[in-house]
């Protein structure tokens, strides 16, 4: 693309895709922004009036807001911790040569292909159910009282479910990074007197930082908007114990019919996502530079 002519042509040909993507993003955002300044209740159609920042005021000052905010962050952080640490360990394991490697790798990736709704329902009914779940059976066979995960530790249970879904993704990315680790570097370190642990700390972890950054950034985007898992398992409860911001927006707009308030919540979620993004890029973004 050297000449001015070819650059113009390139811009021209790119523009339909770029314009479509821009509209795709800007129209919903604009409408959400517009709705967030209206009193817009589904029970009173045709009576929308401009109310300024009132929706924001009421959304933030409802008791559920701060717990939803902290739940969102705990959920993101919890899942990130489990998937990154677990992903590294699993990737180290899968990087070893063993019989049936190919099949095991496919099996490890499998949870990522299961729909969130389905996997959450499977966890809820087949694993965590206090009467029929496997965990309850195990507890009973050991003579213990079954633990009702979703009502006594709802947020932790959801973190577990979501982490189970995202672990394969982290494992996959980290495994490919591990496979590109230079064999001779490892041998050089071995000759230099570095033990297994030291090689892990001084060679493997630095080699993985870029992939870990990618895993954290991509997962954060998706984890900020976890919804299906909460809807099908706890419905945000008990109380607001497992309500995150996304679920609160849903409850506000569709359970309370308050589209204006929900839109305000949506905009707050966008702002939160941006704060998190800036924070993350400040913290680990430099790892992405070559």
């Amino acid at each position: 693309m050297a000449t001015a002519h070819s650059r113009t042509a390139a811009r021209l040909m790119l523009s339909p895709a770029v314009i479509l993507l821009l509209l795709w993003m800007i129209v919903p955002l604009g409408m959400t922004l517009y709705f967030s300044f209206l009193r817009y209740n589904l029970l009173m159609p045709g009576m929308e009036t401009f109310v300024g920042f009132e929706n924001y005021y009421y959304f933030i000052n409802q008791p559920a807001f701060w717990s939803a905010l902290s739940n969102t962050l705990i959920l993101v952080l919890g899942v990130l911790c489990i998937t990154v640490v677990g992903g590294i360990l699993l990737a180290l394991l899968l990087d070893q040569p063993f019989w049936g490697q190919g099949i095991v790798r496919v099996l490890v990736i499998a949870p990522f292909f299961v729909m969130p709704t389905v996997s959450a329902l499977v966890w809820k009914n087949m694993f965590m159910n206090p009467v029929n779940g496997i965990f309850a059976h195990i507890a009973k066979s050991l003579g213990l009282q079954p633990f009702d995960f979703l009502s006594h530790a709802p947020l932790a249970s959801i973190i577990l479910i979501v982490a189970w879904q995202w672990l394969p993704f982290a494992t996959l990315i980290l495994l490919t990074a591990l496979q590109s680790l230079d064999r001779e570097q490892q041998e050089a370190a071995e000759m230099d007197g570095a033990g297994w642990m030291q090689r892990f700390v001084y060679l493997t972890v630095p080699h993985l930082t870029r992939s870990i950054t990618v895993v954290i950034l991509i997962q954060t985007i998706f984890l900020l908007s976890v919804f299906a898992e909460i809807l099908v398992t706890t419905n945000g409860g008990p109380g607001t114990a497992s309500t995150n911001l996304t679920y609160l927006v849903y409850a506000q707009s569709l359970l309370n019919y308050d589209v204006g308030g929900g839109s305000a919540g949506g905009i707050i979620a966008v702002i939160l996502a941006n704060i998190v993004a800036i924070f993350l890029m400040r913290m680990i973004g430099k790892n992405l530079e070559a």
Partner: protein
């Protein structure tokens, strides 16, 4: 000290015997070069000495101590790899200091040794750069620096110059030779390039298919190769190997004569037609089609102007013909 002795060392990968059994002794302070065609087991042999591969049999001893089952770090050997194997996320300083740090050495002493190594290798200006910001030759020097600071019993080099361009290879070759003069530490150097072997070695070990073909000083190998393989491998351009009637005249199955030991002109006994002449300025190499003798390579002085199609007469210098028997071994 760095005396390394191999006693019937064997290595097999599954069914394949890569090294069927090698006896070798490397004296303290010697510069030994393992040379051979690719796949001859020379790198495997080096890795066995380093401890990066387990032996399938035999004993490796370093300074009289059995080191066969010692882990690599305990053998007091330092290795320079073909790919340099520098740690990409560490500065040059940290790369060089890494083995010292692993040994738990006092930071002041580490710093002293690193700056000493940097001085020897002219790396002072690059100590705070990352390996990615260095050229090939500089990376090579960092890898050598990382080996030097450990003050090992012996250095192992695994084709260290094969990733460098021709000009740099020549200068690094000299640097490594000078380093050997300065440090006087045992060095074992693996290469497939016989020029490197000839120019650097005190002692060359020629390997073929996992066996030692001949051990000796460069000139010994050049003047009196023990067999046809060594005769053909050492020397560039290659020795002319002639068999048939001409060899029978000398009572041998094959005779060998080096290109520089054939004189052209006069009324020599051999005649042929020049197929190709390479004028290097100082020398002229002629490829001569000499009928039943086959194609001969002849080295003439730079002034000789011969061209494709010229017919010439050649005579071998007396006493320079090497004779080989039916088993490929040199005849006395």
């Amino acid at each position: 000290m760095g005396k390394i002795t191999l006693n019937q060392v064997r290595k097999s990968f599954g069914e394949v015997d890569v090294i069927p059994g090698i006896d070798l002794s490397v004296e303290d302070g010697e510069f030994v070069v393992f040379v051979g065609p690719s796949g001859c087991g020379k790198s495997t042999l080096l890795r066995l000495i380093a401890g990066l591969e387990d032996t399938s049999g035999g004993i490796i001893s370093i300074d009289g101590m059995d080191a066969t089952d010692l882990p690599p770090a305990k053998r007091r050997l330092a290795m320079v790899f073909q790919s340099y194997a520098l740690y990409p996320h560490m500065s040059v300083r940290k790369n060089i200091a890494f083995p010292l740090k692993m040994a738990g050495m006092d930071p002041a002493e580490q710093e002293k040794r690193v700056s000493h190594a940097a001085k020897i290798l002219n790396l002072g200006a690059y100590l705070d750069r990352r390996p990615g910001q260095l050229s090939g030759g500089q990376r090579q020097r960092v890898a050598i620096g990382r080996a030097i600071v450990r003050e090992p019993a012996a250095f192992l080099f695994d084709e260290p110059l094969s990733n460098l361009d021709a000009a740099l290879r020549v200068s690094m070759r000299q640097e490594i030779s000078e380093l050997h003069q300065t440090l006087k530490t045992t060095m074992i150097y693996v290469t497939h390039d016989q020029v490197e072997a000839m120019t650097m070695a005190d002692k060359i070990v020629v390997l073929n298919a996992g066996r030692i073909e001949q051990v000796g000083s460069p000139m010994e190998l050049y003047r009196s190769p023990a067999n046809l393989f060594v005769a053909g491998f050492i020397g560039s351009p290659k020795m002319n190997l002639i068999d048939g009637a001409e060899a029978d005249k000398h009572g041998a199955t094959t005779i060998g004569i080096r290109p520089e030991h054939i004189d052209i002109g006069g009324d020599g006994p051999w005649e042929g037609v020049v197929g190709l002449s390479e004028h290097l300025g100082s020398d002229t190499f002629l490829k001569v089609n000499a009928g039943t003798l086959g194609t001969l390579t002849v080295r003439a002085s730079g002034e000789v102007m011969m061209h494709h199609g010229d017919s010439i007469r050649m005579s071998p210098q007396p006493g320079k013909i090497l004779r080989f028997g039916a088993d490929g071994k040199a005849m006395a």
